[in-house]
């Protein structure tokens, strides 16, 4: 023990603040750990991740508000296979031209459409509502059973550019698959973009659920959406 230099031992090893900063550090580390978890959780439920309300750019500035809202064009005019196929269908260039060969035929805004028709090169739209590849969503059966467009796509008549209206994550899908009744509508209101559940939706929904014999269990089977 004698071998140790007295000078080195004289002054204390730690200053007065050391304890405070040490404890502070521990506290911060703890908060950081918890905070990170909370942040990750929040991120995946936020629209940064779900993209809700964010409209992707499009080759043509197509406005649902104008076409579906002001002009009251039926959804099925463009999304023609929504009642028969898994894929709702996207209007071929010719569909656009059926009006726009006459109206605004030579506006700059519609130039991509004209080019597409001339050169027989398809338009390339950007997906607004995106599902992962491993989800097999079928539009036709949802429409057939009375789930309206706006239940998932929101009121497109209020949007200029199309944007996702809902989280479209698995929990969100399950909420409805476990209890479809609130989303079920009478046939004639399925394509009504502005549909809001009536006061007695509970009763109506339950009735429709029975009438259209929608089975409970298979709706939450994995293979219903994943194969």
């Amino acid at each position: 023990m004698a071998k140790r230099a007295a000078s080195d031992r004289a002054l204390p090893l730690f200053g007065a603040g050391a304890t405070f900063f040490f404890r502070l550090g521990l506290a911060l580390a703890f908060c950081l750990a918890c905070g990170t978890g909370a942040a990750v959780f929040a991120y995946y439920h936020s629209s940064w991740w779900t993209q809700v309300g964010f409209a992707p750019d499009q080759p043509v500035l197509f406005s649902h508000r104008h076409h579906a809202g002001d002009l009251r064009i039926d959804c099925r005019y463009c999304h023609s296979s929504v009642e028969t196929s898994a894929f709702a269908g996207l209007p071929p260039t010719q569909t656009c031209l059926s009006c726009h060969s006459q109206i605004f035929a030579d506006t700059a805004m519609l130039r991509p459409v004209r080019l597409s028709a001339e050169r027989a090169v398809p338009l390339r739209w950007n997906r607004a509502s995106r599902l992962p590849d491993h989800v097999y969503f079928d539009h036709s059966i949802h429409v057939a059973k009375g789930v309206g467009c706006s239940s998932c796509h929101g009121d497109v008549t209020r949007l200029a550019l199309a944007a996702p209206a809902e989280r479209l994550d698995m929990r969100w899908c399950l909420d409805c698959h476990r209890d479809p009744a609130p989303a079920l509508r009478p046939r004639d209101e399925i394509f009504a973009a502005t549909w809001t559940p009536p006061a007695d939706q509970d009763a109506r929904g339950a009735a429709l659920l029975a009438a259209r014999n929608i089975p409970a269990q298979p709706l939450v089977d994995c293979n219903t959406c994943h194969r």
Binding site: L13, F22, G37, D169
Partner: protein
């Protein structure tokens, strides 16, 4: 607590309080024979590099670089996992169970074996991760509120594993660190340059040896030991359940949990001996770790060796007794089939080799003991290989029988983890006291310790 005193001194009578502090803390503080340490560490480090390469290649190309297939979908990864976890059992067994049993001699080795436990568990923990087809999604085995509304499937033994292994790692760490606190204080007060003292000082959390500290500390230590004891048993039981829960002939057997625990302690002590014998030679710790220690450890090995032997016997007996054609075939196939060599090797190493330990002369003959310990290490690895591979490769439908051949990359990763294990141990002896000084002092000052 009054320890039941053994007839023979377990420590060098010449030890004093001062000597304990000096001799033990001098190993990390001014390392004797630095070259030996460096050489050993370098060797281990090379293996660690191999491990890194092996893992990189695994993630780049996929699990297919290993020998696994259908039907043998588990191979080296699981074998190594079980082997490492088993080794990891000696530490807590020594520090917890022997503490409760008032085995004073444990004091010389518990700190070191606890460290060994931590590192072995770290190596073991790697494998369940690596052997996943999609390791990037390992966190799906943990419970957390995801956007899918899905949770782990808590009936699966693999999920039990996740909790068992992580709990075991955490508790062992806590137990180890709490035990270290007084010794870290000693290091703080003995270290030479100021910065070293500050580092140890921070780690010691300001331990002053205050009676209040000791008062709570000892309570905590005993209760932790009490908790760790069932934990040790549970962890390898659960690992055993990975197999016992499956319906596979050769796996589906109630003997597995106890026989796995026995095997774990068996292999653990073998590994302790393999490490302690060179260590005490290298740093002249003979006065702490006496031949009597080695003798006692050898006796534990002998006993647990018989537990394992009984396990083997029970497997064959139940297969014969059950008159289950599949079980009987699998067992016969182990002994006579294409994997007969590992099987007989396992019996020779785990059942025959320990029998030498009946002889006191061999228990006291360090080289012989070392050899037996090495053989048992290999034998216990072979046991896991036999259990995993031979049960899978010929199960119910002969049409889908297959063979398993380990690949170069299987070996790379396995040897790599051995390197990791050794490298961590080298760090440990270089930085921390390998023997629990404060407990040792208590022992040294015990009256009548000199029989």
């Amino acid at each position: 607590m009054k320890p039941s005193l053994p007839p023979e001194p377990i420590l060098d009578p010449a030890l004093t309080l001062a000597k304990v502090s000096v001799q033990v803390s001098d190993v990390p503080l001014h390392l004797p024979r630095p070259r030996v340490w460096l050489a050993g560490f370098a060797a281990a480090f090379l293996l660690v590099c191999a491990l890194v390469v092996g893992i990189a290649n695994l993630f780049a190309r996929g699990i297919g670089i290993w020998g696994v297939n259908v039907p043998i979908a588990w191979g080296f990864a699981i074998v190594n996992f079980v082997w490492w976890i088993g080794i990891g059992h000696a530490g807590t067994f020594i520090s917890a169970i022997l503490l409760l049993l008032h085995q004073a001699w444990r004091t010389s080795i518990n700190r070191f074996t606890e460290a060994m436990t931590l590192f072995a568990v770290a190596c073991a923990g790697l494998f369940p991760l690596l052997h996943l087809g999609r390791p990037q999604f390992f966190y799906w085995l943990l419970p957390y509120p995801d956007t899918m509304g899905l949770w782990p499937q808590f009936r699966s033994p693999l999920v039990w594993d996740v909790f068992a292994v992580s709990t075991y790692a955490m508790v062992s760490l806590v137990f180890w660190y709490v035990g270290l606190l007084p010794d870290l204080a000693t290091m703080r007060d003995r270290a030479a340059p100021r910065w070293k003292r500050q580092v140890y000082g921070v780690l010691a959390l300001g331990w002053r040896g205050d009676a209040r500290h000791w008062f709570h500390y000892e309570k905590l230590y005993v209760i932790l030991a009490g908790l760790a004891t069932p934990l040790v048993v549970s962890v390898h039981s659960i690992v055993g359940l990975d197999f016992a829960v499956a319906i596979l002939p050769g796996w589906h057997s109630t003997i597995f949990p106890p026989y796995f625990v026995g095997g774990a302690i068996f292999s653990g002590f073998a590994m302790v001996l393999t490490l302690v014998i060179p260590l005490r030679k290298l740093y002249h710790l003979e006065s702490f770790i006496t031949d009597r220690h080695l003798d006692l450890m050898a006796q534990v090995m002998l006993a647990t060796g018989w537990v394992v032997a009984y396990g083997y016997f029970a497997e064959f007996f139940t297969a014969w007794w059950s008159r289950d054609e599949f079980d009987q075939f699998v067992l016969a196939n182990r002994a006579l089939g294409p994997y007969a060599v590992p099987f007989w090797g396992m019996l020779a190493a785990n059942v025959l080799a320990p029998q030498f330990l009946w002889s006191r002369r061999i228990r006291r003959c360090v080289p012989a003991l070392f050899a037996v310990a090495l053989v048992v290490n290999v034998g216990m690895w072979l046991e896991r290989y036999v259990i995993v591979v031979t049960s899978l490769h010929r199960d119910f439908l002969p049409s889908s029988w297959g063979m398993y051949h380990a690949t170069f990359w299987d070996w790379t990763v396995f040897l790599g983890t051995i390197g990791l294990f050794l490298a961590l141990l080298f760090f440990f002896v270089r930085l921390l006291p390998a023997i629990a000084m404060s407990e040792m002092k208590a022992l040294v000052t015990k009256k009548g310790r000199v029989a």
